[in-house]
């Protein structure tokens, strides 16, 4: 089976120590996490993890089930790129004198739909949101022009294309079954 880039979306209770438990599942299987984003979700008290890994689908399925087994994890799912909208954000710190001397640099920045968010005499900061490839190739081009002082990119954030919100359904179903049982 071939390795592909998968995006895992995990929801958990907002409790310290869960991240550790989730990453340990990958470590045990010697899977390198490509990117990781943790943030509050739209549901109060629920955290959302967006994790990308290169792996075979078989392995991803096992990992997802082992993550879901953690007591405080609500749900874990995996997706291929065509099943999600995803984005990354990157910041490029450029030398202001270079930027001013070489007008080609700002052309490149504009061509990529990136924006300049800070300018001072020493450095300028360019912000680019988009897909991994674009972010990388903007970096490559700026680097070739010799003006990059620093570069940082975020992990992927992703939203499913599906019309059902599975966590909401899960939580509703759990509450309903609990109420039924206690009747």
């Amino acid at each position: 089976m071939e390795k592909k880039l998968y995006t895992l979306i995990v929801y958990s209770e907002n409790i310290a120590g869960i991240l550790n438990q989730i990453t340990a599942v990958f470590t045990r299987r010697q899977i390198n996490i490509e990117s990781l984003n943790v943030s509050a979700s739209s549901i109060e008290g629920v955290h959302k993890y967006t994790i990308t890994i290169w792996a075979e689908e078989d392995t991803v399925i096992k990992v997802v089930k082992q993550i879901e087994k953690k007591i405080e994890v609500l749900q874990a799912h995996y997706f291929t790129d065509d099943e999600i909208f995803y984005h990354e954000i990157a910041l490029y710190k450029l030398a202001t004198p270079e930027l001013e001397n070489n007008s080609y640099i700002s052309k490149v920045v504009r061509r990529y739909g990136a924006s300049i968010v800070e300018v001072n005499p020493v450095y300028s900061i360019v912000k680019k949101a988009g897909m991994s490839d674009e972010i990388s190739s903007l970096y490559d081009e700026l680097q070739a022009l010799g003006c990059v002082l620093q570069f940082v990119r975020s992990g992927r954030v992703a939203i499913t294309k599906s019309c059902v919100e599975r966590v909401n359904e899960y939580l509703a179903d759990r509450e309903m079954k609990h109420l039924q049982k206690n009747k």
């Binding site: 958990s12 209770e13 120590g17 550790n20 438990q21 340990a24 045990r28 078989d58 399925i61 096992k62 089930k65 082992q66 879901e68 087994k69 007591i71 405080e72 994890v73 609500l74 939580l171 759990r174 509450e175 609990h178 049982k181």
Partner: protein, 565 residues
């Protein structure tokens, strides 16, 4: 009226009593002293057994849980007390045993400062426990304990760790009992999909050579009756895993013996001949499957399990029936048709005969030569009868006693399967005597393994715990020696071992004992052991270079077992 305020330590006592706890295994120390102080006033309801090493507290809790089906509890101090329980926690995790380990912890202001006897217990135990939680405030005690017991025993059971900060033990709050039967992020028993049941039933109904693999899930679900009804209706022969040995009587016509590396020939060979394989509450451990590439490739596979993460983990299955087998087995039984598979069942016989001639006869009924482990196990089993519970340590003593003991009742085998923990047997047997005082607890130990927990003779002495210790002394780390003989050119690197005089050791602990060397003395020795009230150490000098057979070498194929080595 304001409610009564009590300390966190006192709240722990009341919460444990609220959970129905009657027995604890533990060892005191600085960070758990307030709890032990509270325990002093609760000793009428909470029987605390002082072990001699915290690892033994964890194993005793396991033995208690395995024989009774209840949660085993242990209570230890922080730092070294807590880390000493790690092996027991890992053992309970891999063998799905419900225990709750309560450990002291330094006060919250000291956390993270490398304070005296501080370890990150939650961090250490997260990967080897079902749940691990730090209690930082007294008012969290009732909820933490309720959750711990709920998690430990619901769904697929497992060990839970409560890391109890010292300030939370001494602070006061208004106590109220708490019950937990719901955690929204935790689904103990997954829903059963009706179509999976229908598909499974269809497969079973059209099977010509069905074969069932029975695991500890049946014990954990208390589904022994449901299992028998299911197997009998469609006339399905079965093999059991090491941990599932007592889920069906040894003598039942559909029980074809033990699976796995040192299991019986029939069930292993037939795994690769059946047309439908039905796995019930077992997890296709590598010691059962051998080489996965050649495992049951010809069969359609049905897997009944409570843990979704076990499905397709090692063996790809055709149908997964999720749920508690206590429910799914009767559902499936209703949907299958009566059937007869006489010829298929009879076809096991040639393998049974071959194994009998080549292996069993010499192991259980040797005409002469030194005593054999198998004959000792069978003799103890025959003499002790249905009340006996086999507790084993790890090694040749484990495999041979498990193979030759006979099982007629539920929960009759307690052994460290997944972790293979030497030193497990003696403390687990102590725990079992408290878990079910009606049964005869027979602990089969090797000379290596006995010495790994030998300090627990002190606990046995003090408690007069009626453990019948059968020490199978071969003067070797026998299991490893056998592998050296088979795979390392007989280079016995550090497996011969000098032994102490066990009779003197027993005497020092005031435990009656006897050494049996000759075959003629064996039955007398066993009689004496069983007729002695309380503990007894029966040392049997067995053949030094005996081997466990048959054997599927590691990575080998289940239908190519070795009958000699």
């Amino acid at each position: 009226m304001t409610k009564e305020k009590i300390t966190g330590a006192e709240a722990l006592m009341r919460s444990l009593e609220h959970q129905g706890v009657t027995t604890l295994f533990g060892y005191p120390g600085g960070s758990i002293m307030p709890v032990f102080d509270a325990l002093f006033d609760h000793s009428a309801q909470l029987n605390h057994i002082l072990v001699r090493h915290e690892q033994a507290a964890a194993h005793a809790a396991e033995g208690y849980a395995r024989v009774s089906g209840k949660v085993g509890v242990c209570l230890v101090t922080s730092g070294p007390g807590a880390t000493n329980t790690i092996t027991g926690i890992a053992d309970a995790m891999i063998d799905s045993t419900p225990i709750v380990v309560i450990a002291g912890q330094v006060g919250t202001p000291f956390l993270g400062s490398d304070a005296f006897q501080e370890v990150d217990l939650v961090g250490i135990t997260q990967p080897i426990s079902k749940w691990s939680y730090q209690i930082r405030r007294a008012e969290d005690v009732p909820m933490a304990v309720a959750k711990a017991f709920y998690i430990a025993q619901s769904g697929r059971p497992g060990p839970v760790v409560l890391d109890f900060a010292k300030n939370a033990q001494v602070e006061s709050f208004e106590y109220e009992p708490v019950d937990v039967d719901f955690i929204r992020s935790y689904v103990p028993v997954p829903d059963t999909d009706m179509t999976s049941l229908e598909e499974a039933a269809k497969m079973i109904n059209s099977a010509k050579r069905p074969f069932a693999l029975v695991g500890q899930g049946v014990t954990l679900g208390n589904a022994q009756k449901e299992l028998l009804t299911f197997l009998e209706k469609a006339d399905i022969p079965c093999g059991t895993t090491l941990l599932g040995l007592s889920d069906i009587p040894t003598s039942h016509r559909l029980n074809k013996g033990m699976l796995g590396m040192h299991g019986n020939l029939g069930p292993n060979v037939k795994t690769n001949e059946c047309d439908v394989l039905i796995a019930i509450g077992m997890r296709f451990d590598d010691r059962v499957t051998g080489n996965l590439a050649t495992y049951a490739r010809q069969a359609k596979i049905i897997h009944l399990d409570i843990d979704p993460a076990e499905i397709n983990k090692n063996v790809k299955v055709d149908v997964a029936v999720m749920g508690d087998c206590k429910q799914t087995l009767p559902q499936l039984t209703d949907m299958i048709t009566f059937a007869h598979h006489e010829e298929w069942i009879a076809s096991f016989r040639e393998h049974e005969q071959l194994e009998y001639e080549r292996v069993i006869k010499n192991e259980v009924y040797p005409a002469d030569g030194p005593l054999k482990m198998g004959e000792v196990a069978r003799a103890v089993s025959d003499a002790a009868g249905d009340k006996a519970v086999l507790v084993t340590d790890v090694g040749q003593n484990q495999m041979l006693s498990a193979r030759y003991f006979r099982y007629n009742r539920n929960r009759s085998i307690i052994t460290s399967g997944g972790l293979g923990t030497m030193g497990f047997g003696l403390p687990a047997a102590i725990g079992a005597t408290f878990g079910d005082s009606e049964r005869i607890i027979c602990a089969f130990m090797g000379d290596g393994g006995l010495q790994m927990s030998i300090q627990e003779l002190g606990t046995i002495m003090e408690q007069k715990a009626p453990v019948k210790i059968i020490l199978l002394n071969n003067n070797y780390l026998g299991n490893v020696r056998q592998w050296q003989a088979m795979f390392f050119n007989r280079r016995y690197s550090f497996t011969p071992m000098m032994n102490p005089d066990y009779m003197k050791i027993a005497e020092a602990y005031g435990i009656p004992s006897r050494l049996v060397v000759k075959r003629e003395e064996l039955s007398q020795g066993i009689e004496q052991m069983l007729n002695t009230d309380g503990p007894f150490l029966l040392e049997v000098a067995v053949i030094e270079e005996g081997n466990v057979l048959p054997m599927t070498p590691p990575g080998g194929t289940v239908n190519e077992m070795l009958l000699e080595c």
